[in-house]
Structures are given as C-alpha cells and as structure tokens.
C-alpha cells in the first residue's frame, strides 16, 4: 500500500491480547504534526505505545515508509522513530549531555563510544532545544521543564523521521509548554520530521497540530484537521462535558453559566464586558447581555456565560427587534451594568438604553 509516510490500517490496540480500541485507520504525511486528544484513560498512550512497538499490536497493520512495523528490526526502527515518554526516569549519575548522547546509540559502534561527528550531533540537538547551558548539570537535579527539553534533545539526536511524544507537556508550566511546542513546530516544518503526540490541553492541540485524532475509550471518535474537530459539539461529546462549555474560537473552556432568570443586564461592546461577565459568573448571578454585534468579542463569551443574549447582525444599526428585547430585559432585571460600552454611530441606540435604565434607577457604571 503505497502512499502516506505513516500508515495505520485497521489497527487494534490493547493489553494482553484484549483489544481496547479497534479498527484505527489513518495516514500521516511526512512533516505533519498529529495530536491525539481525548479524555483520561481513553487509550491515547496505548495507541502511541503500539506504534512505537512498546506494546504488541493486536490486529491490523502499521507501516512506516512502506515497511511493515512488525517486520522492522528494533535497530532500524530506532533510526526512524524516536520517543519521549511520560514515565519519569532517574538515571544515576548522568549529566544532561550523557542523556542526550544516548540518542546516538543506533549510530555508534560495538562499545558505544561517541565519534567526533556524534559529539557535533549532540551539540546541535542541545542547541535546537536551547539547552546548551545545561549540558554538565546532573539530569536528576534539573527542573521538569528542563528535563523535558533534554529528553526532546535526546530524541532529536537519534535523527529519526518521526518523533512520538506521550503527553510531553504534562509537568510543564505555561512558558515551557509554549517553548516546547514551538520547537516541535519548527522541527516539523524545517526538518520535515513527523510529530505524533498526545496532549491534554485541547487549546494547544488546536494551535499546534495539522491533524487531530480524537480517541474515546473504545473507538476513534474523529480524525481530521483542527477546524473540523474543534467544534463545540464535538469537543463536548468527546470529553462528555455536560457542565461547562468549550469555545471553538479560542480553544478555551468555560465553567457552566449561572442558572436562573437574569438578575443583571450588562451593556457592553468591544471586549469591555468580559471582566464583568466573569465576575458575575464567579458570584453565581445569572445575567443577560446586550446589545452585542455577533462579531464582537464580548458576544463569544456572552453566548457561553449569559442566560440571555440580545444580539444584532454586524455593521448594522440596532434594529427595533433587538431594542425591544433589551428594554424588556432591563425591565425584568434588578440592575443594569454599563461596562463601559464603546458607542458609535451604528450602536448609538445603546445610549437610549442607558438613559432608560438610569431613569428607572437601575444603572450602575463600572
């Protein structure tokens, strides 16, 4: 079966001969980044372990570069696929450079002595992950973020065509996450290295990956480009979210909205409403929002958090319909908050709403 670089055909994976996920078929092109997402225990690691041959495949076939995985020797597999695993290792008395240098294993001679050329490769790999200054530090004494970079350097040093990473961002803070992922991105694009990784952070997956594989327990839920996958419904169903929201635009997740009749009406525009919405949500006060243009950034969040949103089509004047709704909402609410709405020529009717609220003694300015 010629074609893609990395191919899974009706692959079944699992433990001890019992399949956990069956019939996985997909193809990955060279230089692509594929992210596996899905709930905890859904089998992301099982799939990764199977394609790196740490677990025996139960059925189906994996081929790399038109060679069957089961027919490759461990040695030749090691020159094609390198790994960064979740398990914490504690090698005794090894400096970071020693750890990186183990990546040269497939290329050194019988006794594993590094040649000049190998040393240069080690230097390059360490520079690629910006870890040159760590080289003589002891591996067990560095931080999680640094450790993850060193392990990535080790994998790069192995000069593979594919790097498989199992939850590489697990122990990292935001800064290291971004750094690690941008290194991966660069590697994939510049060196045409295929990257297959599992991620917990769906927002990062959306931004990093070329393709996304959604794994859900017993099956592959979906496989495709991020634009297809990161829809509100897909994500909610994949993770079984019933008490929260996923915002496909920014890949962020939100806590559930306060339940009940709106008590407060927030008038805002141009992002001014966001802090107010969040505040109200934390206080668990149900609120309405408006009148928002559907292209307003406030609208994106209000949709998820507000019990009622009065919306208007972008670049139009506020119509009577929307205006009536807003007036009605103000009547029902205890309070009206002016979040500092920017008011221009199209949405000038907001001014009327504000005066109306003031007359009723409900207006409160932020």
């Amino acid at each position: 079966m010629a074609g893609s670089y990395f191919q899974l055909d009706h692959l079944a994976v699992g433990y001890r001969g019992r399949p956990l996920i069956e019939d996985i078929s997909l193809s990955i092109e060279k230089g692509e980044i594929v992210a596996l997402i899905g709930p905890n225990g859904a089998g992301k690691s099982t799939i990764l372990k199977t394609i790196t041959r740490h677990l025996a495949m139960i059925d189906g076939n994996v081929s790399i570069n038109d060679q069957k995985l089961s027919e490759l020797s461990y040695r030749s597999l090691s020159t094609q696929v390198a790994v960064v695993l979740t398990e914490q290792m504690k090698p005794e008395l090894m400096t970071c450079r020693d750890v990186v240098a183990t990546g040269r294993y497939p290329y050194t001679g019988k006794l594993g002595i590094l040649s000049r050329e190998d040393e240069v490769k080690v230097d390059e790999a360490m520079e690629a992950v910006h870890a040159k200054e760590l080289e003589s530090r002891e591996f067990n004494a560095i931080s999680d973020g640094q450790r993850q970079r060193i392990l990535l350097a080790r994998a790069i040093c192995q000069e593979p065509d594919t790097i498989v990473l199992d939850e590489p961002t697990s122990f990292l803070d935001v800064r290291y996450k971004l750094e690690l992922l941008s290194i991966l991105r660069k590697m994939a694009k510049e060196k045409q290295i295929t990257v297959i990784l599992s991620l917990h952070e769906i927002d990062l997956a959306e931004k990093l990956a070329d393709k996304v594989l959604c794994v859900k327990g017993d099956r592959i839920f979906q496989y495709g480009v991020p634009e297809e996958i990161f829809q509100e419904e897909t994500i909610r169903e994949l993770y079984g979210i019933d008490n929260g929201y996923f915002d496909p635009c920014f890949g962020s997740i939100e806590l559930p909205r306060p339940q009940g009749e709106p008590e407060v009406f927030v008038i805002s525009s141009c992002g001014k409403g966001i802090p107010v919405y969040r505040r109200l949500q934390k206080e668990d006060i149900p609120f309405g929002a408006g009148i928002l243009y559907t292209n307003d950034i406030d609208y994106q969040l209000a949709r998820l958090l507000a019990s009622e949103v009065v919306a208007e089509k972008p670049f139009c004047e506020i119509g009577d319909d929307a205006y009536e709704k807003a007036v009605n909402l103000i009547q029902r609410c205890r309070r009206v908050v002016d979040a500092g709405a920017e008011i221009g020529s199209c949405n000038r009717r907001l001014k009327e709403l504000l005066t109306d609220a003031e007359r009723q003694g409900k207006l409160y300015r932020v």
Partner: protein, 353 residues
C-alpha cells in the same frame, strides 16, 4: 560570560570531558596501585613469618622446595588470586543485577541468589560424595548456577507482579531464608563425614583454594567479564529504562536474558568456590560509581571488577589476620565494611526522593 566559554571550548575537547577523563584515569591508577600493594602485603602476611627477601627468592629465584615455598605457592598465592577473581566477579554480578532491577541495593546476596546457589551446591556435594569421593569444580559451578537461576526465577515472578523495589528486596531476603533453611535441613540430616567440607564453605571462606580452582575460575570469570564488557553499550541504554532502551534499538527480551545469565554465572562461580559472601555486590559498585562520578558501563565494569578484587583481598587479609590463628568467615568481614555502606546508601536514597 556563557558565550565566552563556548568560543573558548569549541576547538578543543571541552574542559568538562578532560576533567572527567582524568578522574577516570586517577581512579584506575589508585585501584591498580592498591591491587599491587595488597597482593604484596597479603603474600607477606601470615601465621608463619617469611621475610621479603625469602619470598622474592621463592617466587622468582626458584628456591629449593621447602615448607616456606609450599606455604607461598600452595596456600597463599592461590588464595590471593581466588579472593581477587571472585571478589571481582561478585561485584560485577551485583552491578548487573542493579542494572537489571534498576535498584542500587540489589545484589546476589540480598536477592537470595547466593543462598539458592548454596542450597543446590550443598545438595550436590552430599549426593556426589555418596557415590564418588570428589566433586569436580565444574559440577559445583553448574549446581550453583542452577541454584542461582531458581532464586532469580522466583524473584522475577515476584517482580512481575510487584513493581515496588522494597517489596522486591523483602522477597529476595525471604527466598534467601527459605534456601538457607533447606540447606540447614539437608546438613542436619546428612552424615557427618559428608559435611566436613560443607561447614566451612557454607559460611563463606577463601581458604583451601588450589591452582586448579584458580584456573577454572579465571576461565569462567574471564569469559564472562569479556562478554559483559561487550554488553556495556546496551547496559548504558538500559539505564534510561526499558522503554527508552527498546526505542534505541535494544532487543529487550534477549538483553534481559543475557543479563540474568551473566550475573548468575558470576555469582554461581563465587558461591561454588567460596560460599555466599555478603554485601560486596552492593557496596563495591556503589563506591566505584561515586568515585568515578559516572555510571557509564564501559568505565564502571572494569573498575568495579578491580575494586571488588581489592575489597575482597583486603577483607580476606583481615579475616586471616585479625584473630590469628583463628580465621573469621569472609562474610563477617565483608558485612562489617559493607553493611554500613549499604545503610548509608539507603538513607541517601530516601533523602533524594
């Protein structure tokens, strides 16, 4: 500051690596010197005082046969060599087991491997002595090897179910007790004439070694040492953990079997000749790794062997001389020096984690 450093370091070997290599060289030099000194000292020490001049004459001058020449050639020299070879073998066996289990406190004695070997050897000795008057060294080594494998087999069964290292050690110690109990049982019900040799041996001693023992163990240990050095590359990979080793191209199944076989042969050889000897297998690799400040197998393997040889020769000297003419069991001495080191290691490990 950093840039300056890297520019300076580029053309030559970085300072780091030079420092490392000189450290390796220093450790090896010290070990070799200690080895030579302790050999001379050992030859020169004993219940019968023999002057240095006479010793040199006996060794190199081809002096006439006599009591003194017999003492040197037939008693002291083979004993010294055996202590060196078996000490090296024991330490190396410990290092291999530590690699295998990823635990610095693993060793042939604590995991019950020596006791397993002892049990089968005792059985063999009694059985063979019934049908013939002597047992060949090879038969004893083979028996010890089988015994080691039985113990390791149990340990592996346990370690498959329980990943926790402390539990593994407890299991090893229990297996050791069971094997010792069986041995005691056999010994109790054997006839006195069958167990004359057995008693001294089962407590561990380098006394009564012959040149034929030396040649057999040189051969077996020599080959095993050579094979172990050839395996230093996959051992290095395995130090990162099984999964990483496999991803670097190591055939894990084959590698694990090889590791078990090599360490069993080594500890079997020791047990067959000198009985079970405690703590050397843990203490020596630890000391060597600390002093080299690395765990690189290619350096650690020969250094561990050399270090084990020195350690056992020193202990044997003490065993012989501390309460002369009474002789101590070798394990008594190795425990006195080895056990505190092991306790120290355990304390450090707790603190480290």
């Amino acid at each position: 500051m950093r840039e300056e450093n890297s520019i300076e370091a580029r053309p030559e070997l970085p300072r780091d690596r030079i420092r490392r290599r000189s450290r390796y060289a220093a450790v090896f030099a010290i070990l070799t010197a200690a080895f030579c000194i302790i050999v001379v000292w050992n030859v020169n020490t004993g219940n019968v005082q023999i002057s240095v001049g006479q010793i040199l004459k006996i060794l190199f001058g081809g002096a006439e046969e006599g009591v003194e020449s017999n003492i040197i050639w037939k008693i002291r020299l083979p004993r010294i060599f055996m202590a060196a070879i078996l000490g090296g073998a024991l330490s190396l066996s410990g290092f291999l087991l530590q690699t295998f289990f990823g635990n610095p406190i693993a060793g042939p004695f604590v995991l019950g491997i020596s006791s397993g070997a002892k049990m089968v050897v005792a059985l063999t000795m009694i059985y063979f002595l019934k049908i013939s008057s002597s047992v060949s060294s090879y038969a004893l080594i083979f028996a010890a090897f089988i015994g080691s494998l039985i113990s390791i087999g149990f340990i592996l069964l346990v370690s498959k179910r329980i990943k926790h290292m402390a539990t593994l050690l407890v299991a090893g110690i229990m297996i050791g007790y069971i094997c010792s109990a069986v041995t005691d049982f056999i010994v109790t019900f054997a006839e006195d004439s069958d167990i004359v040799n057995l008693h001294g041996w089962s407590l561990g001693s380098f006394s009564g070694m012959s040149w034929s023992n030396v040649s057999v163990s040189v051969m077996i240990v020599g080959i095993t040492l050579f094979l172990t050095i050839l395996m230093s590359k996959p051992i290095g990979a395995y130090q990162l953990g099984e999964a990483y080793a496999q991803s670097m191209g190591v055939n894990i199944k084959r590698f694990r079997i090889a590791l078990i076989l090599l360490s069993s042969i080594l500890s079997a050889c020791v047990t067959a000749f000198a009985g079970p000897i405690s703590f050397v297998g843990i203490a020596v690799p630890f000391l060597i790794k600390r002093s080299l400040n690395t765990a690189r197998p290619l350096v650690v393997i020969p250094a561990t062997f050399l270090g084990g040889a020195v350690f056992c020769m020193v202990c044997d000297l003490i065993a012989r001389m501390a309460f002369a003419p009474m002789e101590l069991n070798i394990s008594t001495v190795t425990s006195i020096f080895g056990a505190p080191i092991v306790i120290f290691m355990m304390l450090r490990q707790k603190g480290g984690r």
